[in-house]
């Protein structure tokens, strides 16, 4: 207020306060833009350095891995070719192991979506009595660190004779991913009016018809978000795959990678090429479903 009156009163004398304020604001905006630019550079370097390292080592030629350089002197894509053609004794089952990873990822996604949607349908839509017990059990599972259950889980799988069987890993990942699915489905389901189910029920639809014809079609956005999450969770999982899959035929790519790491002569360029090839499908999935995923993370939630 005072600046405005001063402005009108003292017109010409030097820099007028309003102009001074404008200049201060411009200076402030300039400083904050410079700050943002510096922060952006720092963020880009911080984010990309480990990834750059991965690419750089993968493009390094056989003999140059143990030398000082920031970009390989004789860059070549040979290591990618060797991985793809399984041309190194460590990689002889690469495609088989990649197939195992895909199989586990696909089955986990399918089971998480099926079990999660069925459970939330029963609890939230059919409103079965004492459904909260199930919700709480799921919540409790969500907050138990998976690594803490690994030892008894491993021994139990030995009892069941499921060692080296991909289904043991699928069971483990489904166990720890389904609770998240149940929450997202419950939260998302709140936005679908219960009257839809009611009217279908009055028209004589059976629960299974309501589930397939009304519930699932309306839940598609949540199903996509959770499906992406489950697929990435399966692709990321290491501990259970490492414990439960130990022979070369049954193991998955991460387990093979880690075996590489622990061997005496680790061929780092092949390892990094394998790592990049393994990382490409989730990156593609992630960017394809990015918006769906982040809305899934916060779907109905973050009301805090």
């Amino acid at each position: 207020m005072s600046t405005i009156t001063a402005d009108t009163a003292l017109a010409p004398a030097g820099a007028r306060p309003a102009e001074r304020m404008k200049r201060a604001a411009r200076r402030w905006r300039y400083a904050s833009n410079v700050g943002a630019a510096i922060l952006s550079v720092v963020l880009v370097v911080w984010t990309l350095t480990p990834l750059y390292n991965m690419v750089m080592v993968a493009f390094t030629a056989e003999g140059d891995v143990f030398s000082d350089h920031l970009w390989p002197p004789n860059a070549s894509a040979d290591s990618f070719w060797i991985v793809l053609t399984q041309g190194y004794w460590y990689l002889e089952y690469f495609w088989h192991q990649f197939g195992n990873s895909v199989f586990i990822g696909a089955m986990v996604t399918l089971l998480v979506l099926t079990i999660g949607s069925m459970t939330s349908f029963s609890v939230m839509r059919m409103r079965i009595r004492n459904g909260w017990v199930i919700t709480n059990a799921a919540l409790l599972t969500y907050v138990i660190p998976a690594s803490f259950l690994a030892i008894p889980f491993y021994l139990i799988m030995q009892h069941y004779g499921l060692h080296n069987n991909p289904w043991s890993v699928i069971a483990a990942i489904v166990t720890f991913a389904t609770p998240y699915a149940i929450f997202i489905f419950q939260e998302y389901g709140r936005s679908i009016p219960l009257e839809l189910d009611e009217s279908a029920r009055i028209d004589g639809a059976s629960p299974i018809q309501i589930y397939f014809r009304i519930y699932l079609p309306l839940m598609v956005p949540a199903l996509v978000a959770v499906g992406t999450f489950a697929l990435l969770a399966a692709w990321n999982e290491y501990l259970y795959q490492f414990l439960l899959l130990s022979n070369k035929q049954s193991m998955t790519v991460p387990v093979a990678l880690a075996q590489f790491l622990n061997s005496d002569v680790a061929p780092w360029n092949y390892m990094m090429a394998t790592a990049i090839i393994y990382a490409l499908p989730p990156i593609a999935t992630y960017y394809a479903f990015r918006n769906r995923m982040s809305s899934g993370l916060t779907m109905g939630g973050v009301k805090g």
């Binding site: 911080w46 079965i128 690994a150 008894p152 389904t178 990321n236 990678l257 790592a275 990015r290 009301k303």
Partner: protein, 304 residues
Amino acid sequence: MTTVSAIEFGGPAVRRQSLWRYWRGGLRGSEFTWALAFLVPYIGVFVAFVAYPVFYGLWMGSKPSLYAEVFSDPIYQQTVVNTIVFVAFGVNLKLFFALLLSGFFMRPGWWVKALLMIFVLPWAVPELPGFISIHWMLNGEWGLLNNALYQFFGIDGPSWLNSRWLALGSAVCSHVWRWLPFWTVILLAGRMSIPTEIYDAAKVDGATGLRRFAHVSFPLLANLYLVLTLLATIFLLGNFNTVYFITGGGPANSTHLLATLGIRDAFDLANPRLGVAVVMSALPLLIPLVIILIRRIKNAEVQL
């Protein structure tokens, strides 16, 4: 008499029916069966892969003499300190930077959006390839980090993974690198859910910059921030991959966390009970955290 008996005749019959429906959650017979059938898969998963392993683990770790053995192990004592340091720094650095960066990413402009796309890359890349790359990057002799330090600044970098605290610090940084995008995206969604009218009102009242953050944004985000802190603490207590791949527990078993030490005792030392006891020693900290978290989630309806 007759009228009373008529009422009595009608009364219990009605009540019995309503009680019956009450117990069945208001569902008719066949519908109740369907609702239960929809729950069977999750109940099966929970009983076979959560309840059974939990009780098996509790039984395995129930002998008091195990704990005497665990607590007298000098590696275990170091591990407890490591876990506390790792969790304290990991959680707070991650969430503090996530809070600041989520504010940064609220800025308008296409290049901030482009930066966000790059920034989320570590989260899109599976954990294992990223960590293996960092592991090699931190190699004292041939790693990218020390090469860069030497070429740009003429500094001979230390061998990052050969001393306890440097190695643990590297593990914390790697963890922050991998998970910062995830928490930033969540907090960003939390900020976006704050209605802009509130900011407009604050602007009219003269609150900008730091004051706007202190009096408007943060109070609205505080509950979310607290829930995320609890969740991150619980997740980090059971973290396995970071230390396993960055330091491998070395040098000389001095950087183990509870989860990695548990797996080492169970499988490398072939003593599963000892491993379970190591992991179970986290329960006095884990259980209160879980109880507080579940209460918070229920009250605040914040869901992840």
